[in-house]
Structure formats: structure tokens, C-alpha cells
């Protein structure tokens, strides 16, 4: 199990770097993170020694960038026929699913890590709560994993990368919106509080915001862990179902 997973992981991760995908992604991610934080988030004007504006931008950044990262995971294998090669090698389906996912996740975490100058800046200018920042980074990484797992499933459903991108975007958007206040207010007008809470409970936004306030609750970790587990499991099932087509 492990040797196949490791080989798939390494192949996939190096795969990002032999094409321009990695560099384009990282550059755009960093530029956009900057734009959201400094322009739209008015971080300097706020004169607050925290990274609230920076992290608040992450869900919306991921919404567009993560589907771009995950769309090729399985769609490309199916399109080029290499899925037949991969699945007739002595590597189990789950090892292939997890290996690919972990490679994409590692790459996303690398991009996230490269935002460290922002952290250095805030420490230079003031005295932020570094514990909260660390928790926020962790929350952001977990949220990226959640988005990627959703994207992995969408990529397994189709052999078109464009369709995979759009499906992932829509699905991720739904997961975000479920916790967005205007949407919740819409439900609050008529739906019982239990249902509103349930909808909010499924939102990446709600869980991410809890973590990025510095409240590292098991509930939120379990949430993202479960999302990743469920969507990767579903990816495996879909791949098995669609093999013959």
C-alpha cells in the first residue's frame, strides 16, 4: 500500500513542476493573496497587528484556484487512457486516490507556506498573536484539503478538465455559501433553527472562521477530516464505476 502511494504521490508532485502549472499557480496565488489583503482588505489602513484580512480572503481565493489544481487529478488520466496503466500496476485504488490527493494538497500547502513574508511583515510592524496566526494557517490548509477532496471527486466524474473545474467550483461555492451570513439569514426567516445550524455546520466558512479565531476545536478538525475522507472515498467509488466506459 505505502510504496505504491509514495510512488504515485512523488510522480504527481513532480508532475506539477515539470509543466508551468506549478509556477503559474504559485505566482497567481501569491499575487491574489496580496491584492485581497492589501487592496480589498485595506490591511495597512486598518492598523491592526493581525492577519484577519489576509485569512478572510483565503476561502474566496481557494474557490477559484483549488478547482484549477484538482481538475486534472483524474480527468486527465481518463482522457489520456493512463488510468488503465495506473490501475493495472500493483497499486490499490485507494492508494492511487490518496497519493494523488496528498500530492495536490502538499502543493497547495507549499503555495500557502510561501505567503510567509506577510507573517514576517506583521511581526515587524506590530505584535500580533502568533498562536492565532498559526491556527489560521492550519485552518487554511485544512480548508484547502477539503476543497481538493471535493475537486478530486469532480475530476473523477468527467474526463473533461473544464467540466471538472466548473463542477468543483459550483460544489465548493455551495460549501462556502452555506455559512455566509446573507444566505443563512435567508433561511432564518422561515426554516427552523436546527436546519439553519445544520446548513451552517456544513460550511467550510463557518469551520474555517472558528479555527482562524484561534479556537482550535476538535469539532472543526473532525469536520475537515470527514469531508476529505468522504469525498476521497466517493472518488474511489466513482473511479471503479466509470472504469468500463
Amino acid at each position: 500500500m505505502l510504496r505504491g502511494l509514495r510512488a504515485v504521490f512523488l510522480r504527481e508532485l513532480t508532475g506539477y513542476f515539470i509543466t508551468p502549472v506549478a509556477y503559474v499557480f504559485i505566482v497567481i496565488f501569491l499575487v491574489m493573496a496580496g491584492v485581497f489583503t492589501f487592496q480589498l482588505g485595506r490591511w495597512f489602513q486598518a492598523e491592526q497587528a493581525d492577519l484577519r484580512a489576509f485569512f478572510d480572503a483565503h476561502p474566496w481565493l481557494y474557490l477559484f484556484l483549488i478547482p484549477a489544481l484538482s481538475m486534472r487529478l483524474w480527468a486527465e488520466e481518463r482522457k489520456s487512457g493512463t488510468i488503465e496503466l495506473l490501475l493495472t500496476l500493483p497499486v490499490s485504488r485507494s492508494a492511487a486516490v490518496i497519493g494523488k490527493f496528498l500530492a495536490a494538497w502538499a502543493f497547495a500547502v507549499l503555495a500557502l507556506t510561501l505567503t510567509f513574508p506577510v507573517w514576517i511583515t506583521v511581526n515587524y510592524l506590530g505584535n500580533p498573536d502568533n498562536g492565532v496566526i498559526l491556527a489560521s494557517y492550519l485552518g487554511s490548509a485544512l480548508m484547502a484539503g477539503g476543497f481538493l477532496a471535493v475537486g478530486s471527486l469532480m475530476s473523477a466524474i468527467t474526463n473533461s478538465q473544464v467540466i471538472a473545474f466548473i463542477l468543483s467550483l459550483v460544489a465548493c461555492f455551495a460549501f462556502l455559501l452555506a455559512g455566509y451570513s446573507p444566505v443563512l439569514e435567508f433561511f432564518q426567516g422561515w426554516a427552523p433553527q436546527g436546519i439553519v445550524d445544520a446548513i451552517a455546520g456544513f460550511s467550510f466558512l463557518t469551520h474555517f472562521q472558528t479555527i482562524s479565531r484561534g479556537e482550535l476545536a476538535a469539532r472543526d478538525l473532525v469536520f475537515f477530516g470527514s469531508v476529505i475522507g468522504v469525498f476521497l472515498g466517493a472518488t474511489g467509488v466513482v473511479i471503479e464505476m466509470k472504469k468500463g466506459q
Binding site: 510504496r3 505504491g4 509514495r6 510512488a7 504515485v8 512523488l10 510522480r11 513532480t14 508532475g15 515539470i18 509543466t19 489520456s80 487512457g81 493512463t82 488503465e84 496503466l85 490501475l87 493495472t88 500496476l89 500493483p90 497499486v91 490499490s92 472504469k243 468500463g244
Partner: protein, 319 residues
């Protein structure tokens, strides 16, 4: 000899279509089995089930004693497989790609390097190791696919149309490679093909399937012997004007029929072309030669034909 591949009642249905229908097939060590059949006969589907890519609807396939559904990884470890069209990770270089295959197959360090080097040598990939696979010619891509399949020196090699789309030189190289691997011994090789001459060139056994069932199983020679042209004699004669060549030949003992291949007028005597077919494929060339000699006909050519695989193929698969 031992049984390397055994399928029993192997069946695959896609909706209402039965692609492979209760297929029973046993392949022994040392055999090079040519898997023939029209498009859509179920060749690829059978290979996909034996290699564990598709699960059978019913029936079983065992490779080296391991059942493919129950122990897929054990089966996959023992098989080298070239899928149809030789799909490859085209943005990798052959070196990196083969390295990946070696790692998935559990090789590392020296063992990995040795296996990769050996596969590269056998498929003569030395010149293109560091070019992205997508920039390679079709022939090289196919060789990378073959290198990947033989990397771990598998006991069972399954090649789905290994020479499809290659030029005659490339086909020759691939066939030579297959023959070399068969000669090294201890392996079973199964290859599917449309090209019937290939079966003659590399296979020890030819299996024809149609509509998912085995319709013929034997040596390539026995397959050829089923041709109505087996041991027929093709003639180009210049007999005197007015000779009833076809009637005379048809009356000879052992002759089943005479096929008129057209007469070319011109010169002193016209050139009469025909094929004399033998009853039951038994040799008739001596009788034909003797008759022609006695009658003193001019002979432009005379060859005995082994038979035409194309005809047998059409005959059997009902195309």
C-alpha cells in the same frame, strides 16, 4: 509446462451487450498466444479483465494461480501489460517514467537502476531518455510502453495490439523483441492483433474470438491449413490456342476446383492465370506439374500456396 493464465466462464456485459461470453482459455508457460478477432470481438475486454482493470460480470480469471478479483495486487505484480494505444504519462521523460514504474513495482536503489537499464537496453531507448514522451515518435512511444511492461521481468506479458499503427521497420523491431522474450523462456505472452502475418511471425498458438467466444484455437499452421487455398497451386501458363486449360486441370485427381484469375491477351500465346484448389488441402503440385509437362504448356510461374490467413479469418468470424 504450467498454467499461467486460466479463465473459466469469463463473462463481461456492458448493459445489454455481452462483450465477452463465457470464455474458457488456458495459457501455458512458453506459449506466445496470438489473440485474433474482429473489432468488438472482446479481445481488449478480455485482456482488461485478466489484468484486473475491469471486473468480470461472472466467471473467473487466474494468473499464476491467483484469482484476479480476490488477489488483484498479486496478479498485477506478475503481469506486464501494454494497454491498447500504449497510454503514457506524456509530460514525463522515458527515464522518469520508467523510474516511476519501477518504484510502484517495489524496486529501489540498485535493483531499480538495473531493471530500468535492462528495459531501456531491450527496447533501445538510449537515444531519447531525456526527452518528454509527448515529443517522441509513435515508434518510440510504443517502445516506452513495452519497456514499462517488461521492466519487472514479468512471468505473464499481455500486449494489446503492440504493433498497431507502426511502420514496417518498427513492427519488425517489436516482433523481434517479443520473439527474444519468448526465447528467454519461462514466460507466457498474449498479444492481440489485427495483422494476421504477425501471428505467423511470432505466435506458437492462435486463438480467434468472435462475439466474445472462442471460435478457433490451434497453431498458426493449423489455422492456415483451414484455408481453402491451403496447398493450392497458382499458375501462369501459355498453352496453345484452343486448349481447355481449366477443364483439363479440374479433371486431375485431387483437384477440387480451378479459379480463373483472368487471361492477358498479347504475344503469340495469351497468358492464362489460374489457381488450382486442392481437395482437403492435400498436396497436388506434383500432379499439376506432371500434367503441364506432358501437355507441353509454357509456364510463366507456378507456386504452391500455404493458404491465406485473411480468408480463414473471414471464414471463421463470418465477416
Amino acid at each position: 509446462m504450467s498454467e499461467m493464465i486460466v479463465t473459466a466462464g469469463l463473462t463481461k456485459r456492458f448493459g445489454s451487450i455481452t462483450a465477452v461470453d463465457r470464455l474458457d482459455l488456458t495459457v501455458q508457460t512458453g506459449e506466445v498466444l496470438g489473440f485474433l478477432g474482429p473489432n468488438g470481438a472482446g479481445k481488449s475486454t478480455t485482456m482488461k479483465m485478466v489484468t484486473g482493470f475491469l471486473s468480470p460480470t461472472s466467471g473467473t480469471a487466474r494468473v499464476c494461480g491467483h484469482e484476479v478479483v480476490a488477489e488483484p495486487l498479486k496478479v498485477k505484480e506478475r503481469i506486464g501489460y501494454l494497454p491498447e494505444g500504449a497510454p503514457l504519462y506524456s509530460d514525463m521523460t522515458p527515464r522518469a517514467f520508467l523510474g516511476f514504474i519501477a518504484e510502484v513495482r517495489g524496486l529501489s536503489g540498485t535493483a531499480k537502476r538495473k531493471a530500468v537499464d535492462r528495459a531501456i537496453e531491450q527496447t533501445q531507448l538510449e537515444g531519447v531518455l531525456h526527452q518528454p514522451i509527448e515529443t517522441l515518435s509513435k515508434g518510440f512511444k510504443r517502445r516506452v510502453g513495452l519497456a514499462q511492461a517488461i521492466l519487472h521481468d514479468p512471468s505473464v506479458l499481455i500486449l494489446d495490439e503492440p504493433t498497431d499503427g507502426l511502420d514496417p521497420n518498427q513492427k519488425h523491431q517489436v516482433r523481434r523483441l517479443i520473439r527474444e522474450m519468448a526465447a528467454a523462456g519461462g514466460k507466457s505472452i498474449v498479444l492481440s492483433t489485427h495483422i494476421l502475418e504477425e501471428v505467423d511471425a511470432v505466435c506458437t498458438r492462435a486463438v480467434i474470438i468472435a462475439k466474445g467466444r472462442v471460435v478457433s484455437d490451434g497453431t498458426p499452421a493449423s489455422l492456415v491449413a483451414k484455408s481453402k487455398y491451403h496447398n493450392s497451386v497458382s499458375l501462369g501458363l501459355r498453352p496453345p490456342a484452343g486448349t481447355m486449360v481449366f477443364d483439363e486441370l479440374a479433371r486431375l485427381a485431387g483437384v477440387a476446383a480451378v479459379e480463373d484469375n483472368g487471361t492477358i491477351e498479347g504475344g503469340e500465346r495469351p497468358l492464362v492465370r489460374c489457381t488450382v484448389m486442392a481437395v482437403g488441402g492435400r498436396p497436388i503440385q506434383e500432379a499439376v506439374a506432371k500434367h503441364i509437362g506432358q501437355r507441353g504448356w509454357g509456364v510463366e510461374w507456378m507456386h504452391t500456396q500455404a493458404g491465406r490467413l485473411d480468408d480463414v479469418f473471414r471464414q471463421i468470424t463470418g465477416g
